[in-house]
């Protein structure tokens, strides 16, 4: 139930975030053109249908915030951790139903505040989703640093509370409530991914809270954690002794693990979906677990790669170059293991499978450009340009969204007892991957040419004219991609009520959730809890007739069990 609440809230937030992105893509594609739709939706933010400069920054900021936190953190982890953890480990329910409920309602209130902040005087927060001070600390620096910024910070604190309550619950449940026989080494990779995600969140989100609280204090109580030597609005400010760079260290100490908080669940989901639909064991289970652990650990010691050009000591920069590039090794292992899983498989292209294969592609394509950004010498020339926008949208945005959509298509029957339409799913996938790459791949070139991100208009810069003819192309892809999501929305809501009624194990899958009845019962299993006898990936095991062997199937005589 809670997973459905998370999912539907996230779908709603996702719709808002996509609409915001379309609004600013209109301005970027056709700067200064008047669009009636902008005036309809944005009113005084787009007088005469032309987006206002401050509103542009607010849209960019809120788009990023919603996507990163509300859709891909709350939506992705919240939905699938709550759904799959008890079902796949064989538990009656999460360890604490109460914490679980609190976690959703904090998420809900935080979402409401974030949406509400779009409507306050001065507009929503506008300093970019990272809200660096002093810009975000000083209301006189921009209209978006007024009430909108305060609400942003409050919303974030509530969000973190939600995330911590959820995370602790996930960890406790996975460690304590596994059913008999469900050893850690037999956990499906989804659960491993959710576990490490929760650990990352519990360790890093509190640091974001401190960053946010200190910023709130700088804004409201006259403290100077992040402020020093500032002259603004014709006035020399009192505050001295702080450092804006401190905020960045604190922010990215969360911010980088956050990337993996977003990505790991998607990778876990795709591992499960790919193995099931390739009718093959996931290749190198132990290496997959090892690389999740490796990525999780490394993600804590790489945050400085966001800060190569802040004036940070170059030697410290070198250390971050080293640690960051190390992440490529477990990532490469994962990518090759996925591909080997496909090799000589028997691939059933369900919509979930399509999105999972798409995820492997975007994970590799986007991950590779990370090598350039991790290399401090190269980062200097592409830092904060469209190259970065291209990189993280492909590796984090597209991959995580693909993972989330794969999860929705795959576990829809478990959530709603009905099937989604596969044909619409095909159409949805092909539109999404083509327009996704169509939007973000060309941005690499815009960035290498030297176009900074978060510019309202590039027409003043002659040296960029050459790449700017890509902007309308990007915008058209964005619009098509956004419209393509209507196939999903229709399919999602229609199938919820009118879809084909599901059978118990539609994907012929090994994991425990498919041993529960189609109609959800309290305690998940009507009788005793199932006992687990094998790992989750006995697909096409030659010792068995069928091409799948449920985890509850005992070993046949002479069989070597994983």
């Amino acid at each position: 139930m809670i997973s459905k609440q998370f999912l539907i809230t996230a779908v709603f937030m996702g719709i808002v975030a996509v609409m915001l992105s379309i609004f600013f893509r209109l301005q970027l594609g056709w700067p200064g053109e008047s669009f009636a739709i902008l005036e309809t939706f944005l009113g005084k933010w787009a007088p005469g249908g032309v987006l206002d400069r401050n509103a542009y920054l607010a849209l960019v900021t809120i788009h990023g915030t919603i996507m990163v936190f509300f859709v891909l953190t709350g939506g992705l982890s919240g939905t699938f951790s709550n759904l799959l953890i008890p079902l796949q480990i064989g538990a009656r329910d999460m360890a604490s139903g109460f914490l679980n409920m609190l976690s959703y309602w904090f998420f809900f209130v935080s979402s409401v505040i974030m949406i509400f902040s779009l409507f306050v005087e001065g507009g929503a927060a506008s300093g970019g989703w990272t809200v660096y001070p002093p810009l975000s600390a000083l209301p006189q620096a921009m209209p978006g640093s007024g009430m909108g910024m305060t609400l942003w910070l409050i919303s974030m604190v509530l969000f973190v509370v939600s995330s911590l309550l959820g995370g602790l619950n996930y960890i406790v449940t996975i460690i304590n409530l596994r059913t008999k026989g469900m050893k850690m080494t037999r956990l499906p990779l989804t659960i491993w991914a959710f576990l490490i995600t929760a650990v990352l969140g519990v360790l890093s989100f509190p640091v974001l809270v401190s960053a946010v609280v200190l910023l709130l204090m700088d804004r409201t109580m006259g403290t100077a954690f992040y402020l020093s030597d500032i002259f603004i609005g014709g006035e020399a400010l009192d505050v001295t002794g702080g450092s804006p760079i401190l905020y960045q260290h604190l922010f990215w100490f969360l911010g980088h693990p956050e990337v993996y908080i977003v990505l790991l669940p998607a990778l876990g989901i795709s591992s499960e979906v790919i193995a099931t639909n390739a009718r093959k064991p996931i290749f190198g289970y132990k290496a997959m677990v090892g690389s999740i652990l490796g990525i999780g650990f490394l993600s804590f010691i790489v945050w400085g790669h966001h800060m190569f050009v802040t004036g940070m000591n170059p030697f410290l920069g070198s250390v971050f170059v080293f640690t960051t590039l190390l992440i490529a090794i477990p990532s490469a292992v994962k990518a090759f293991n996925y591909i080997t899983t496909l090799w000589q498989g028997n691939l059933r292209f369900t919509p979930a499978m399509l999105f999972s294969v798409g995820l492997v592609s975007t994970f590799v394509t986007g991950g590779l450009t990370g090598i350039i950004l991790a290399d401090s010498a190269l980062d200097v020339s592409v830092h904060d340009t469209y190259f970065v926008v291209a990189h993280f949208h492909i590796v984090m945005g597209m991959s995580a969204i693909f993972g989330m959509l794969a999860g929705v298509y795959h576990w829809f029957p478990k959530m709603f007892g009905r099937m989604m339409n596969t044909k619409l799913g095909f159409v949805h996938f092909w539109i999404t991957i083509i327009s996704g790459y169509g939007v973000f791949f060309p941005m690499h070139f815009v960035g290498i040419a030297g176009a900074p991100r978060r510019y309202y208009d590039y027409s003043a810069f002659e040296f960029l004219d050459f790449v700017m003819d890509l902007q309308p192309v990007i915008s058209v892809f964005a619009i098509v991609g956004a419209l393509g999501q209507l196939f999903f929305l229709f399919n999602f809501f229609y199938s919820m009520f009118r879809g084909q009624v599901a059978v118990q194990n539609p994907w012929r899958s090994n994991t425990l959730e498919w041993t529960t009845p189609v109609e959800h019962v309290h305690g998940n299993w009507p009788g005793a809890l199932p006992e687990v006898h094998r790992w989750a990936y006995d697909y096409s095991n030659p010792a068995h007739e069928e091409d799948f062997v449920s985890q509850i199937t005992p070993a046949i005589p002479g069989e070597e069990i994983h």
Binding site: R53, S318, I372, P442, P452, V476, L483, V503, W507
Partner: protein, 460 residues
């Protein structure tokens, strides 16, 4: 364009409506289960992966051909090394990109589901896994080593004789400062910023100017607050109550005790006079009054900080202050000699900006309160670059690359790279911060100011 978008929207909607109809029709007729993907569908999607791959690669190649050669040659020394490093990394990246995506899409197309086949049970293979752990590690070791070598070269100490230029950012423009003949930048302090001293350079004269500006503002505010009608009337009532309180309640012996009647009456008289002078009376809301009071307090603290700035706080004493006199401040564009190393020092007045010079492969954030540095050696003059690009109007630019407010996208400064001779001629024409036309006057002035500073310090 608007039409095009409208068209896209309409077509999208029509398509969805149509599909929904088809969906409804088929769902009633069909006996097929949603989870049973037909062989035709599996083959179709596998084939689409291949088709997608071809389309994707074609677009990537087209983009590389059309836009990959965007790049103007790097106009700085380290930029050449960066470009070589970039080329090296891009080659590796493209190789892996094509290799992995090809394997992925090819396998997807090749191994689509056929009921008669069974997948190969292949759970792990240590040798294979070792291969794709070790090979990426080696490649990354090379990338790291090469990258860090370039990085160390870029960030090493600047040459002794490097030209030093300060780049100063504020919402929403750039200012450049050259150190003048002495080669030393004057000290700067944000408390000293005034319209005539936009960088807050610490000089005796600058201090005096700031002080007088602050004093002026304080006086103006004090006057405004003193003449606020509502507050005057309120005070009048209170004082009158105080005076007459004793009369009305004569039986309360101690009431009004201790009131200095003379002082109260004097103040009442003063208030009457103020109230009569209607032309200078101000009427503002309570909120505005409080805001002004706050501002007044802030200004007083500003004044306090200014008085604390004395030459004793600086190494080198007053001579350190003198370094600012010959600094040259330029706006709109700044010039650099070709082939000479320049150490840029960055400061910011208000929020974080980022000094981005794409043609030089150079970027550094400007952080209020924390000076930052970047060194580079321009290698191609503006004229040569105009020749190379065939664009007569080409100019190097300094852009802002950290979101800083509404006009972030418009915050640029022109950079002119020229020969040493041209540069020398240009710099000679730039005004010095404190122009001393008559050399005799200057020392006298300084001496005078010295006195002023001491006096103000002493008075506290």
């Amino acid at each position: 364009m608007k039409l095009l978008i409208l068209l896209v929207v309409v077509i999208g909607l029509v398509a969805i409506v149509q599909l929904a109809k088809v969906y409804q029709l088929t769902s009633s007729l069909r006996a097929r289960r949603e989870e049973d993907i037909s062989e035709a569908d599996n083959r179709l999607n596998g084939g689409l992966f291949l088709a997608f791959m071809v389309l994707f690669y074609a677009s990537v190649i087209w983009l590389v051909v059309r836009y990959g050669d965007y790049a103007l040659p790097s106009a700085s020394l380290h930029g050449e090394a960066v470009d070589t490093l970039m080329g090296f990394n891009l080659a590796i990246i493209f190789a892996v990109f094509f290799l992995v995506n090809t394997l992925l899409f090819w396998f997807s197309a090749k191994y689509y589901y056929r009921p008669e086949r069974k997948a190969r049970f292949f759970a792990h293979d240590n040798r294979l896994e070792l291969v794709w752990t070790v090979i990426p590690s080696i490649v990354l070791a090379v990338i790291i080593a090469y990258g860090l070598a370039t990085w160390n070269q870029m960030t090493g100490a600047p040459a002794e004789d490097a030209l030093r230029v300060e780049i100063y950012s504020k919402q929403f423009d750039w200012t450049a400062r050259y150190p003048g003949n002495d080669g030393e930048f004057g000290l700067s302090n944000y408390n000293l910023i005034t319209p005539t001293n936009p960088l807050g350079i610490v000089t005796a004269e600058g201090l005096e100017v700031s002080m007088s500006e602050v004093e002026k503002s304080i006086a103006k505010l004090e006057k405004e607050l003193m003449h606020e009608r509502g507050h005057l009337l309120k005070e009048q009532l209170e004082l009158e109550a105080m005076l007459h309180g004793g009369d009305h309640h004569g039986d309360h012996a101690d009431h009004g005790h201790g009131v200095d009647h003379a002082a109260v009456e004097a103040r009442l008289h003063e208030i009457e006079l103020l109230l009569e002078d209607e032309s200078s009376l101000t009427i503002i809301t309570e909120a505005a009054y409080e805001a002004k009071e706050d501002k007044l307090n802030r200004l007083k603290r500003h004044r306090q900080r200014l008085t604390e700035i004395s030459e004793f706080n600086y190494d080198g004493g007053l001579s350190a202050w003198a370094a600012g006199n010959d600094d040259q401040i330029v706006k709109g564009e700044f010039h650099l000699p070709v082939g000479r190393e320049v150490e840029m020092v960055f400061r910011s007045r208000d929020v974080i900006h980022s000094a981005y010079m794409p043609q030089f492969r150079a970027q550094m954030n400007t952080v209020p309160g924390v000076p930052t540095r970047f060194k580079m050696t321009p290698t191609i003059t503006t004229d040569s670059m105009r020749y190379i690009t065939g664009d007569e109007n080409f100019d190097y630019v300094l852009l802002c690359n950290k979101v800083c407010g509404a006009a972030h996208f418009n915050m640029e400064m022109k950079i002119v790279v020229e020969t040493q001779e041209e540069y020398d001629a240009w710099i000679k024409e730039q005004k010095e911060y404190l122009v001393k036309e008559e050399s005799e006057e200057a020392p006298a002035e300084t001496a005078d100011l010295e006195g002023t500073t001491e006096k103000t310090t002493a008075s506290l």
